[in-house]
């Protein structure tokens, strides 16, 4: 037995091992640094080619430096070997290195079991239905490789047929897996640190610089999914606020988080109730539709009605909110108006002069000043583009008077600076706008590419009023969404029919998020409510799980212990006859031979004596007279049995 572990691998096994590693690399490639994937893939291919076509081993002087280079590269790129992303990169790298020294059955076994482990680690980065299914399929090559290591099997001619038994095995394992998924008690608090948050995701941040959104606007992963009680608001009203930014330093707008201040008053005209399911952002802000009336549990309403959660959103988060969509926000500005007029000194002189000139021209008519600004954006030759020209120190001057091109950040920033210069309290709000209404699932899908920035001005008697200067430049951005605003500037997969297909497909992702990813300790406790158990605590779950496992095992054993005897046709015919005779009252006794039995039956049923005697002779002849029964005599016996009448004789 020890000798089998050191046997050298045959070609087919080595192919399957390499295929398993290809699956691992492919599944990790989306979050590995591109240079690492680009280095590991050729190494893998070369090694495969080397062993398959040269039958050579990799020399030690090549293996050791490669290993050192891998460690060095990972440490210098991530700064450490520990943590989720460097750990995954290290695991993938080491696995590919393992292939370099894979020669024996034992190497292959070690490599393939760690390949399974690494495949699971890919799910730390993406938990969507697609990712989960792909990882499940990725398990097939390792399983096939393990299977191919057994000596004395019949390898199929086509290599892909090796994968099918693994599929069958996983399918057979599905019931028990589902049971375990439902019943395995979840941990109330993690045993060790939550997945590290160092990894920066593109997402809304509490700081806005012109052109800082560009990354975000081409990232079309889902940001949130919203369902409404009642009809959804029209597209032009779908503004989701995240940050309210008050402070401008000449280059960027920032949100200052101040706790322990009561939220400003709001007079709500029309409210709407909705449920948000927020994808992990690693941030604390919870986007809300317009002005929220209260914060959800586990979060706080800040002064400017920004909702800040107590902990960063590291996993899918669901919350329900009431928001006002017709409102008067902060009707009295009070003492704090200076804060909304702040401008850095010594920046953007031409912009400030323009603002002041508007004030001089329109006097106290704030509304007219706002309209003047919008008219400037609309008629001043401005262009909406995701790739604007870079701006200098006086960014707003450059934008307004020279380049004339930009996207929402530029417009909202310039608008707010102009308003403040004219003496109107103004601020920048960032968040999401638009989204795709999935009519089948009745929910709104908001992607990261729907990130948006707009302005708010405070007008006497009306409170804070939303003004979206981007709408003045390109109304399609608001009515049709981000993709419609910049035709030809987005990646190919974000445009046209493909995007619409992906929008429709998202309903599956939402279902997956709700039913699988959202299945937490809380939902688990309520799992048994339909069966009358109010609170399924750990002991009950474990008991149920044990019972379930025992039942599955019993089913498996029943399947395994079942013996299928090759049915003998003559005996089957006799058995049928026995059943018929039993209905007539002549049952076969245990230990009674067919001859005795049929003679007894012939005695008991004198009306059928001839038939029974003939049947007995036929059977005995079939059974004992010839070595192999002929088909015609068998058929005759069957026919005679079938025609045997069971109508009870009237005595």
């Amino acid at each position: 037995m020890t000798s089998t572990a050191t046997t050298t691998l045959d070609a087919r096994s080595f192919d399957l091992v390499a295929l398993g590693l290809v699956a691992v690399l492919a599944l990790h490639a989306p979050h590995l640094p591109w240079w690492l994937s680009a280095t590991l893939a050729p190494i893998l291919c070369l090694r495969w080619w080397q062993r398959r076509h040269r039958r050579a081993r990799t020399p030690v002087w090549l293996k050791l430096p490669l290993l050192a280079a891998l460690l060095l590269a990972i440490v210098s790129w991530y700064g450490s070997l520990f943590g989720q992303a460097p750990g995954a990169a290290l695991a993938v790298g080491l696995l590919v290195m393992k292939l370099l020294e894979t020669e024996s059955v034992r190497d292959a076994r070690v490599g393939m079991s760690f390949a399974c482990f690494t495949l699971m680690a890919a799910l730390l980065f993406d938990q969507s239905l697609t990712a989960t299914t792909t990882v499940a399929l990725g398990l097939l090559p390792p399983l096939a490789a393990l299977r191919s290591l057994e000596p004395g099997r019949r390898p199929p001619a086509a290599w892909w047929r090796e994968l099918l038994p693994g599929l069958g095995l996983l399918a057979a394992a599905l019931p028990l897996a589902l049971l375990a998924f439902l019943l395995l008690p979840r941990l109330n608090s993690p045993l060790w640190g939550a997945p590290n948050t160092g990894e920066q995701r593109t997402g809304l941040s509490d700081r806005m610089t012109p052109a800082g959104f560009t990354q975000l606007l081409v990232d079309d992963s889902p940001a949130l999914r919203v369902s409404f009680d009642g009809p959804p608001p029209p597209p032009g009203q779908r503004y989701f606020r995240a940050f309210v930014m008050s402070h401008y330093d000449g280059s960027s707008w920032t949100y200052r988080d101040v706790a322990n201040q009561p939220p400003v008053p709001v007079e709500a005209g029309q409210t709407i109730r909705y449920h948000v399911s927020l994808e992990p952002t690693r941030q604390r802000v919870l986007p809300t539709l317009d002005v929220p009336l209260a914060a959800p549990p586990g979060a706080n309403l800040r002064r400017d009605r920004v909702v800040i959660a107590d902990k960063p959103v590291d996993s899918l988060r669901d919350y329900t909110l009431d928001s006002a969509i017709r409102y008067r926000l902060e009707p009295q500005l009070g003492q704090r108006s200076a804060r909304w007029l702040q401008l850095p000194a010594g920046f953007n002189p031409r912009t400030l002069a323009l603002g002041r000139s508007w004030r001089a021209r329109y006097g106290n008519d704030d509304d007219a000043i706002v309209q003047a600004a919008l008219a400037l954006f609309h008629d001043g030759g401005f262009r909406y583009t995701l790739t604007p020209a870079p701006l200098g120190r006086d960014a707003m001057d450059d934008f307004l008077f020279d380049t004339h091109e930009g996207f929402c950040e530029h417009y909202s920033s310039a608008f707010t600076v102009l308003m403040r210069a004219a003496g109107i309290p103004a601020r920048v709000v960032t968040g999401y706008q638009g989204g795709y209404w999935n009519a089948m699932g009745h929910y709104l899908l908001v992607r990261n590419s729907d990130a948006h920035a707009w302005g708010e001005v405070w007008l006497a008697g009306r409170g804070w009023v939303r003004v979206d200067p981007t709408a003045a430049v390109r109304p399609q951005r608001i009515s049709l969404g981000a993709a419609a605003a910049v035709p030809g500037q987005l990646p190919w997969y974000q445009s046209g029919w493909l995007q619409s297909l992906r929008n429709h497909w998202d309903i599956v992702n939402r279902w997956w998020n709700l039913s699988v990813n959202g299945f937490d300790a809380l939902r688990q406790r309520g799992l048994l409510k339909p069966f009358g158990i109010r609170e399924a605590d750990t002991s009950k779950l474990v008991l149920l799980l044990a019972i379930g496992c025992a039942l599955c095992m019993a089913a498996g054993l029943a399947w395994v212990w079942r013996r299928r005897e090759p049915e003998d046709a003559a005996r089957a015919a006799l058995r049928q006859l026995e059943r018929k005779l039993a209905r007539l009252g002549v049952a076969r006794r245990p230990g009674e031979g067919p001859r005795d039995y049929l003679q007894r039956a012939a005695h008991a049923l004198p009306a059928q004596r001839d038939r029974l005697t003939e049947l007995m002779h036929r059977y005995l002849e079939l059974r004992y007279a010839r070595p192999g029964p002929t088909t015609e005599s068998l058929r005759a016996l069957r026919r005679a049995v079938r025609d045997f009448p069971v109508v009870r004789m009237v005595k």
Partner: protein, 315 residues
């Protein structure tokens, strides 16, 4: 370490024959059933289990609801592979054993005939240090070489059928102890005198005059090339062959146990075995007289086998 384990196993065998099923030889055919198939995880299986546990704890810790069902699925698949390992052996039947002939000290070829209703893969057979892996569809004949040491009946050693099919995580095994013995022939001595023959026989065996070239005749298919008279053939149309006087048939050997009084028992047997072999090789007819048995004159492989077997079973 290994020695300690083996001693422990032997002790367990002695103490718990019912559990280990190592004791009782059984008549053929032997069919494997659930009462005699044992399963334990292999070392690799234990390692894989630890890895699964790590994955499970990781998935639970990170509340990763995508990795959790997949880990459970992999775990259940591993458990299901235990059933498949069992199924690889269950219902397998050792129908018959055929043994070849071998003299002591040389390996003896055994042919084991296995049958099963379902096709099997990756079943392995261990027998006295030799290991075979085979797949089976309907039936399969396995050839094993069994080492022999001394003449006589030799019981078959225990056979172990085992399988780690399909993933190598679990090993299912079953011991077979067929009630079957093989007969090992005595080893002939390497050199020694020819059998002592009666005087007149010796006379007749002397080379006869006239065993010279008698005539030339036409070539017939099957004639040895060295008998062809090349020179004579060159002058003729056809090949000519030298025809010798047909030699007298070789003397019949009457081999007698009692004629070798001076030797001890095993030496007598070894000498008789050598004479039997020589007689068979020279195409003689021979008979064999043993203390309690007489085998009449005969020749040919079956006669030889009968004589050797009779020698082998001598007390």
């Amino acid at each position: 370490m290994r020695a300690v384990l083996r001693r422990f196993a032997e002790r367990a065998e002695r103490r718990l024959p019912a559990l280990t099923r190592l004791r009782q030889p059984e008549p053929l055919p032997i069919e494997l059933g659930r009462r005699r198939i044992y399963i334990l995880p292999t070392a690799f299986g234990l390692g894989f289990g630890v890895l699964l546990l790590v994955m499970l704890v990781g998935a639970l810790n990170y509340a990763n609801n995508a990795a959790l069902p997949l880990t459970c699925m992999l775990g259940s698949a591993a458990a299901a592979s235990m059933l498949l390992a069992f199924r690889a052996l269950d219902g397998l039947c050792l129908r018959s054993i055929r043994a070849g002939h071998a003299i002591a000290g040389e390996p003896l070829e055994l042919v084991l005939d296995f049958a099963a209703s379902r096709p099997r893969e990756a079943v392995r057979l261990d027998c006295a240090g030799e290991s075979l892996a085979f797949a089976l569809q309907g039936s399969a004949e396995l050839r094993l070489r069994l080492a022999t040491t001394r003449r006589g009946w030799q019981p078959l050693p225990r056979l172990r059928l085992w399988s780690t099919w399909p993933l190598g995580l679990f090993r299912a095994w079953s011991w077979l102890h067929p009630q079957h013995s093989v007969l090992v022939w005595p080893r002939p001595e390497s050199a020694g005198p020819p059998p002592l023959l009666p005087g007149d026989a010796r006379e007749r065996l002397r080379p006869q005059a006239g065993e010279e070239l008698a005539a030339l005749r036409d070539y017939r298919r099957g004639d040895a090339p060295r008998h062809i008279a090349w020179k004579a053939s060159a002058r003729h149309h056809d090949l000519l062959v030298k025809d010798f006087e047909r030699p007298e048939p070789r003397e019949t050997w009457h081999l007698d146990w009692h004629a070798l009084r001076t030797l001890d028992r095993e030496a007598r047997i070894a000498r008789l075995a050598r004479w039997l072999g020589e007689a068979e090789a020279q195409g003689r007819r021979y008979s064999l007289q043993l203390p309690n048995e007489r085998i009449d004159v005969g020749s040919g492989p079956s006669h030889y086998a009968r004589c050797m077997s009779a020698l082998a079973v001598l007390p």
